[in-house]
């Protein structure tokens, strides 16, 4: 079973779907995946966790204490981080929003 099929099979696979067309200036799948990891890390750095891509098939969530978890989709990253860190990630948390806004300022 190829990596692409594994992604599509999961309930959360929508979060890894690509909607851009390469011939219209869209990214290649690999480039898009790295972009996804970078954007996720923009959020995760505030929780002292780092995400990396694993062979274009899975993602590895690395905690500061050396713990790591492998997940198959971006949507699965968040509950994994919450379990690892024992804290919730809320996109409506004003402190998180302020931190993102400040990082961009």
């Amino acid at each position: 079973m190829c990596g692409l099929c594994a992604v599509l099979m999961s309930e959360e696979g929508w979060s890894d779907a690509s909607v851009t067309a390469v011939d219209q200036g869209g990214r290649t799948r690999r480039h898009e995946r790295l972009h996804r990891v970078a954007l996720a890390n923009r959020v995760l750095r505030h929780y002292r966790v780092k995400l990396s891509d694993w062979n274009g098939v899975s993602y590895v969530v690395n905690g500061q204490t050396g713990q790591s978890v492998i997940v198959s989709s971006i949507a699965a990253v968040w509950p994994a981080v919450e379990r690892l860190r024992g804290q919730v990630i809320d996109p409506l948390d004003e402190r998180l929003i302020e931190a993102l806004e400040a990082a961009d300022a």
Binding site: G13, S15, A17, G26, R36, A75, W78, I89, D104
Partner: protein
């Protein structure tokens, strides 16, 4: 994807006119080449329409429609139909209509359509139709506050029994429905222009809901207690969206607040694609995003409708802006 058979889901409270709608559909010529899955034959009364009883749970009707009783097993019934179609035991069908039970959470049907291994490869969601009884809507909602979900997940809201309700009550019901779910098209089952094909037509390219004339009374006090914390709003974005960033934001939002985000439905202009992207989610269930063949109007801005329960719209807008690094142009409250 275009090879998959579309499935229309019909939901609504017991007594909301769902059965009447089914009876009307089963006798209609537009239902030729359609397989209709209902719970039990006895509920609908098909005898006068029957052409052939293929077996106990499967009959062929005069309209050319295939009718099956599911007895609660949707995925089994859908798989069975596939096999029979392949073996040519039944006439070919290119559409399926599924009736839910009165109290069913349509989410579980959507879940089957999207995630059951065999079903998801051969079927796709057409649209969700929710029947609402103009006479008893208030009563139904008070007895079943969870029924809000059936209204929130609808693509078409069919208001029934408007001939039995005072005109101002029908208007009030339609007004409340429009505010609750601006992403749904509202149809009146009693109107001469009511058209079954339009009811069943695939979702995704709907025009804006027709504007509801203001009757000057504002939000109905009678409905308020049951819907106080449920409200809808739309976000409009002038700039093309980074789809990857949006996916991260939405997956985070639903992970934390999925129970209270009753619906997300929108057409997005995304970076790197000329074609619009259609996004559709019911609480935690997210349909795979899909490209639409064309923009529905000349307005090429992203427009996303949210139906939420007890959530801060302004904060959601600010959050989307921060995550996607794009200004959100307008927040339109329904």
């Amino acid at each position: 994807m275009s090879d998959r058979t579309p499935v229309n889901v019909i939901t609504g409270f017991l007594g909301s006119g769902k059965t009447t709608l089914l009876q009307r559909m089963l006798g209609a010529p537009q239902l030729a080449r359609t397989a209709v899955l209902i719970n039990e034959f006895g509920e609908v009364g098909l005898d006068h329409l029957l052409v052939q009883r293929v077996e106990e749970s499967l009959v062929l009707l005069q309209s050319g429609c295939i009718c099956c009783s599911m007895r609660g097993d949707l995925s089994g019934a859908l798989r069975d139909l596939l096999g029979r179609r392949e073996r040519e035991d039944i006439p070919p069908f290119d559409r399926v209509v599924v009736e839910t039970t009165g109290l069913a959470d349509p989410g579980s049907i959507l879940n089957t359509l999207l995630h059951e291994p065999v079903v998801r490869h051969h079927y796709r969601l057409g649209n969700v139709i929710t029947t609402v009884d103009a006479v008893n809507a208030r009563l139904h909602l008070s007895a079943n506050p969870e029924g809000i979900k059936q209204i929130a997940c609808a693509d078409r809201l069919l208001v029934t029994k408007t001939d039995l309700a005072p005109p101002e009550l029908s208007r009030e019901v339609q007004h409340v429905l429009a505010k609750l779910n601006p992403a749904a098209e509202i149809l009146d089952a009693q109107e001469d222009s009511f058209d079954i094909e339009r009811l069943l037509a695939a979702t995704g390219s709907e025009r804006q809901r027709r504007s509801i004339e203001s009757d000057g009374t504002g939000q109905s006090v009678a409905f308020r207690p049951h819907m106080d914390s449920v409200s809808s709003f739309s976000l409009v974005l002038d700039e093309p969206l980074d789809w990857t960033a949006f996916g991260i934001w939405l997956s985070l939002l639903l992970n934390r607040h999925g129970n209270d985000v009753l619906r997300v439905k929108g057409i997005l202009r995304v970076q790197g694609s000329e074609a619009p992207v259609f996004i559709n989610a019911v609480q935690h269930i997210v349909h795979p995003p899909m490209h639409l063949p064309a923009w529905p109007t000349d307005d090429r801005r992203s427009r996303i409708v949210f139906i939420t329960r007890g959530m801060d719209h302004v904060l959601m807008r600010r959050s989307l802006e921060a995550f996607c690094r794009t200004p959100v142009g307008e927040l339109v409250v329904a």
